[in-house]
């Protein structure tokens, strides 16, 4: 049966090309793999091979012809004793593509977001409270989850015998042994990849980065391998993993050790991003993160590790991911923060109260998925918004919040939103400059006064 040979697409972007040269003539016999022609694409001159066996019955497009559209018949291949005019009437198969393509246009421009506001308490109001540090809370969270699930293990630099560079994993080696509490070499890219692979293989790793600054070595495995595989596999293969460690500035450790990654990871669909402030939230959120079937970035803070908070003494304290917490109710302005930013937000609210300004303070706790409903709900009441974070201003968490509030609650705003952020500079070492680079309580107070026109 005669078959048409069509102008091939030879690059992802090729729509037409030049039939530069025929390397066969009518009457030639060709077999699979023989080069038939040279075709100039938008990228290069390519050799075009025969796929089927046959005799070149007729050349339809002369060499040197420019602008030959993809899928135009360029020659006819016939069998022994067959005439080139015996062409099948069938339309080229390429028609299927052109028909199939437009469907995507109907896709919605953004995910339908119906704000659901969950104001339920995370633990019973009458729960017995005990003062614990964030450090203890994080360790207890890991220990409880490891007791409950054999597939949970901890891996990282100095997590086992050294008991943790910041003593978060203190005692875990003794309780769980070296099979489940694993010291790694200093090799972030490699061990992050191994941990992700083990999650594909059915385990639930907790990967401790000594600090999130070092996780930049591993960011390809976090984003390309951990975050995208569920989608790329059509839902077959998920990655239950927690990447945790201190994030942001500590004190006097300068530019390479003082960066807030909340806004970086917040951008990635497939990741969840958690950044707790209090010890109770650190414990409840870490337990939820370990149980979550998705990759979770869990951003801690070195300065907060030693800080004590009341922690409810309940069995199995969990806090759902994606739920903000209203720390303080107020009527004049909404201050939204997370992580160590909460310290400045709460201090500012105390001082503002002395001046008769009532601030509502929201701790996001989870940056992705973000409880934007809680923010909008509050802004509808206060009509003013200030965001507080340690990270840089351009592409900050606050700038995302501003855009959401502008789109969904524009009519409720009585003043432009102000984002209080770290300064737009690498972190300096000198004590005086470092202080200037960081966000301060006074800056939050000034922002609130600006949006409340005081």
């Amino acid at each position: 049966m005669a078959t048409e040979i069509l102008m091939p697409a030879l690059s992802p972007t090729m729509e037409e090309g030049t039939l530069a040269k025929w390397l066969v003539k009518e009457g030639d016999t060709v077999s699979s793999g023989d080069i038939m022609a040279e075709i100039e694409t938008d990228k290069a001159t390519m050799e075009f091979e025969a796929v089927d066996e046959g005799i070149v019955g007729k050349i339809l497009i002369a060499e040197g012809t420019e602008g030959v559209k993809v899928n135009t018949p360029i020659a006819v291949l016939v069998e022994e004793g067959e005439d080139a005019s015996a062409l099948p009437a069938a339309a080229p198969a390429a028609a299927a593509v052109t028909e199939a393509a437009p469907a995507a246009v109907e896709a919605p421009a953004s995910a339908p977001a119906a704000p659901v506001i969950d104001l339920s308490p995370d633990w019973p109001a009458d729960a017995e409270m005990k003062s614990e540090t964030v450090r203890e809370a994080l360790r207890d969270a890991m220990a409880e989850e490891m007791r409950g699930d054999e597939d949970v293990y901890l891996m990282g630099e100095e997590v086992a015998e050294y008991q943790g560079a910041y003593k978060i994993s203190q005692g875990l080696l003794d309780e769980f042994g070296s099979k489940r509490v694993i010291d790694t070499p200093i090799t972030e890219h490699g061990f992050a990849g191994i941990a992700v692979g083990s999650a594909f293989g059915g385990l639930k790793p907790i990967v401790e980065f000594m600090t999130f600054n070092f996780a930049m070595q591993a960011i390809d495995q976090i984003i390309n391998s951990a975050a995208k595989t569920l989608y790329m596999s059509g839902g077959q293969m998920g990655c239950p993993i927690v990447f945790r460690g201190p994030n942001g500035a500590a004190a006097r450790v300068a530019a390479q050790h003082s960066q807030d990654y909340a806004a970086w990871y917040m951008q990635i669909p497939g990741l969840k991003v958690v950044m707790p402030y209090s010890a109770a939230d650190a414990k409840g959120l870490l337990k939820s993160a370990i149980r979550d079937p998705n990759p979770v970035i869990f951003l801690e803070n070195e300065i907060l590790y030693g800080r004590s908070f009341d922690v409810p003494q309940v069995d199995d304290l969990t806090v759902p991911l994606g739920k903000a917490r209203i720390w303080r109710e107020g009527t004049d302005v909404t201050i939204v923060s997370f992580g160590i930013g909460m310290q400045y937000a709460l201090e500012a609210a105390d001082k503002l109260a002395e001046e008769g300004i009532s601030a509502e303070v929201i701790d996001l706790r989870t940056i992705r998925p973000m409880d934007t409903g809680a923010i909008i709900n509050s802004v509808m009441k206060t009509n003013r918004l200030v965001t507080v974070e340690e990270g840089w201003p351009q592409g900050s968490v606050g700038s995302y919040i501003s855009s959401v509030v502008m789109q969904e609650a524009f009519d409720y705003l009585d003043a432009p939103v102000i984002n209080c952020t770290g300064k737009d500079v690498p972190m300096p070492y000198a004590a005086n400059l470092e202080k200037l680079a960081l966000i301060t309580t006074d800056e939050v107070i000034a922002a609130v006064k600006q949006v409340t026109y005081r």
Partner: protein
């Protein structure tokens, strides 16, 4: 390029040889069809064909047992067919249709099968190497006796994370076979221009990982080496490296004009070392099969590939709702 060394009377049954012939031919015909569909605009983006390298995956799959895992790079169609994934599902993924193994959301470079223990299909050169060691880590942790075949190319062998992984795999005795598919070109850069050592497997010695060179154009040699490597891993002795010398006949991807090598170089390998011709000769000279028997297999394979192609054209594009699914579990 390793020249073909045809074992005159290999200790292998007719049935086994026929199986290898059929499996390698399926990959070749499938890839030729994929190239054709790409030319017709039915397959988009990047498409990396496996033609020439068929003996590598077919030989190693013959050394694997049920439950063993495999992971590879973006040149992954052959691996999927060799481990028994449905040709229609693979082809429909290439055409971006709902019947594809990833519902059309992964494409040529990103396909997976939990059922067949195929863990991708990874588009970032070298990233699959720690992932493969991680699969082996999980097997060791669960003490299930599994071995993971972690495939990567001579190009990926220059990525730092490969050596981070070698170190930890050796340190922790992970049951992983590192398969370096050395087809001699990292896209357009020959091994001589990119790699300081002649034999890449030697680099394992620095980490205490044994390894060897394998003739990747001889499916029987690959299988034998695979069995040795797997036995090493299953015995708890840690990782093993197989540097399999092979050759890709086509360009790096569909849009590669392959000007970095001569037409004669490719032709010489095709004529002298083709892995499928090798088995075909063994079958015929050993009187294991007649020309007619092989023609019948050719016909059967052509039919399978045509059906896969038909399915990949008929399967609809994913519904628009699929844009928003499978982001979170």
């Amino acid at each position: 390029m390793a020249a073909r060394k045809t074992t005159k009377k290999p200790n292998v049954s007719a049935e086994e040889l026929t199986t290898y012939y059929r499996e390698m031919l399926l990959i070749r015909r499938f890839e030729e069809k994929a190239g054709q569909l790409y030319g017709m605009g039915l397959i988009g983006g990047f498409c990396h064909l496996y033609i020439g390298q068929e003996a590598v995956v077919v030989g190693l799959e013959a050394a694997a047992k049920e439950g063993d895992k495999r992971i590879t790079s973006y040149r992954d169609h052959g691996h999927m067919l060799a481990c028994g994934m449905d040709p229609g599902g693979v082809m429909a993924e290439l055409t971006g249709r709902i019947g594809g193994l990833s519902k059309g959301k992964g494409g040529s470079m990103h396909m997976f099968s939990k059922e067949k223990h195929f863990y991708g299909g990874h588009g970032i050169v070298g990233a699959q190497v720690p992932l493969g060691a991680g699969l082996a880590f999980a097997d060791k942790y669960k003490e299930n006796g599994g071995v993971t075949f972690t495939y990567f190319g001579d190009g990926a062998a220059n990525q730092g994370q490969v050596y981070e992984t070698f170190n930890m795999a050796a340190l922790w005795d992970l049951p992983v076979v590192f398969v370096i598919e050395n087809n001699q070109y990292a896209m357009g850069t020959s091994q001589a221009r990119s790699t300081s050592t002649k034999d890449i497997y030697h680099r394992g010695e620095a980490f205490g990982i044994p390894g060897e060179i394998v003739n990747g154009m001889d499916v029987l040699a690959v299988k034998a080496a695979g069995e040795k490597a797997v036995a090493h891993c299953r015995a708890g002795k840690g990782p093993y490296i197989l540097e399999v010398k092979t050759y890709r006949y086509r360009g790096h991807s569909m849009s590669d004009p392959a000007k970095y090598r001569t037409r004669e170089e490719v032709q010489k390998v095709r004529e002298q070392s083709d892995p499928i011709e090798h088995v075909r000769e063994l079958l015929l000279t050993g009187k294991h099969a007649s020309e007619d028997d092989l023609k019948a297999i050719d016909k059967e394979i052509k039919e399978i590939v045509n059906q896969a192609a038909e399915f990949s054209k008929e399967s609809p594009e994913p519904s628009v709702e699929e844009l928003w699914t499978d982001i979170y579990a």
